[in-house]
Symmetry: C2
Subunit: 200 residues, 2 copies
DNA sequence: GTCTATAAGGAGATAGAC
DNA sequence: GTCTATCTCCTTATAGAC
C-alpha cells in the first residue's frame, strides 16, 4: 500500500497510544489495540518500536516535552505571588480538565511502571522531570516577588507535587473539578505560608 | 488430598493475593500466580472466587477492614490538636513504611480499577471508605479540642486525602520516608491553620 | 516496504477423572 | 472435594509472501 515515513508512523502510533491508554487504561493498551487505533496493521507497530515498553518510554518523553511549555504562559502576567501560585496550580488543573488525555495517560503509565522492574526508572524519570520543572517555577517566583522560602526549595517543590498528585489521583476517580479546585486552593494557601519577605 | 474449608482457602488466597499484588503489581497477579503463591492448584482459585475481579473486590474489603482499626490507637493519647494531627498522619506513614503491603496493594488496585468499567466502583468505594474514616477523625478532633473548622468538614477531609495520597504516590516510587515525613508535616501545618478556637 | 499469517506463550475459566 | 488437563481467547513478537 502507501509507503509512509517511519517518523510519521511513529507519530501516529504515539498519538494512538495516548488515546488508548487514556481511554482504556494501560492494561488494555496492547500493541494490537494501539496499531488498530492508528489504522495500521499490527506488524507496523514492531516496524517502528522495538517493543511495547519502548513505545511507552517514547510516549512519556513526548507527553513531558509537550507539557513543559504549558504552565509558563499562565503565570507570565501574575502581579503578586498569590496570583502566581494560584494561576500556576489552577492553570494546571484547568488544562487537565479541558484535555485530560495526557494527564490520565501519564498517571496510568507511572502506576504501570512502578511495579515493573524494567520500567521503574520511567516512573522515577517522570518525577525527576516534574521536579525540575516545578523547581524552576518556585525559584522564579521567589526572585520575581522578592520573597524567600522558609524551608528548603526541594521541600517546597516536593509539597507542590504532593498536592498536584493527590488532587489528580482523586480527580481521576471522581472527575469532580470543583472539589479538586478547592483542594488546590488549600494547597496554594499552604505554599503562600511558606514564603516570607526577603530581608534587604 | 487434604480437605480444606472454603473459608480457610479464601483466607489463604487473599493473603497470597495481597503479597503478589504488593510484590509484583496487579498486572502480574494472575489467578495462576495467586494460587501458586498460596500453594494451591490453579483450579482452587475458581473454587473459592467466582472470578478474578471477585477476588480483587474481596481483597479490598479485607484490607480496608484491617486498616480501619489502626489509626485510632495512635491518637488516643494526643493532648493537643497539633499532637493529634501529627500522630494521625505520621502514624499512618510509619505503618505504611513498616508494613507496605496493604498500602502498595491498595494503590495498585485503585489504579487498576480506575480504568476498568467493571471495577470503577471499587475505586470509588475505596475513597468513600477513606472519606468516612477520615471524617470521623476530623469531627472527633474538633470535638475533643474545642475547635471548629474554618471550611466545610468535607473539604478538610478531602484535603487530608489529597496529602496522604500525594505523599503515598511519591513514596511508592522513591521509598524516601524522610522526605515523605517532611511533606506530611507541611500538610499537618496546613490542616492546623484550618482550625480555630470555637466561640463559647 | 508492507502486511498476512503464525509462532510461542500466558491468561481466565471449566470439564471431568479420581 | 480435589486437581489435572484443557478449552478458548488474547498477548508480544516475527517469518515470509507479495
Amino acid at each position: 500500500m502507501q509507503r509512509i515515513a517511519v517518523e510519521d508512523r511513529r507519530a501516529g502510533l504515539l498519538a494512538a497510544g495516548l488515546r488508548v491508554i487514556a481511554r482504556d487504561g494501560m492494561a488494555r493498551a496492547s500493541t494490537r489495540a494501539v496499531a488498530a487505533e492508528a489504522d495500521m496493521p499490527t506488524a507496523s507497530f514492531h516496524y517502528v518500536f522495538a517493543s511495547h515498553d519502548a513505545m511507552v518510554e517514547q510516549l512519556v518523553e513526548s507527553i513531558l516535552t509537550a507539557q513543559s511549555t504549558g504552565i509558563a504562559e499562565a503565570v507570565v502576567d501574575a502581579p503578586t505571588l498569590r496570583d502566581f501560585v494560584t494561576a500556576a496550580l489552577q492553570g494546571w488543573l484547568d488544562r487537565a480538565v479541558a484535555d485530560p488525555a495526557a494527564e490520565v495517560a501519564l498517571h496510568e503509565i507511572v502506576c504501570w511502571s512502578r511495579s515493573s522492574p524494567e520500567l521503574h526508572r520511567l516512573a522515577e524519570a517522570v518525577y525527576a522531570r516534574y521536579t525540575a520543572s516545578v523547581a524552576s517555577f518556585v525559584v522564579a517566583a521567589g526572585d520575581r516577588f522578592g520573597v524567600r522560602w522558609r524551608i528548603p526549595v526541594d521541600d517546597v517543590v516536593r509539597f507542590v507535587l504532593v498536592v498536584t498528585d493527590g488532587v489528580a489521583a482523586r480527580w481521576l476517580v471522581d472527575r469532580d473539578a470543583e472539589s479538586a479546585g478547592r483542594s488546590l486552593a488549600l494547597g496554594a494557601e499552604a505554599l503562600l505560608g511558606l514564603a516570607q519577605e526577603a530581608a534587604g
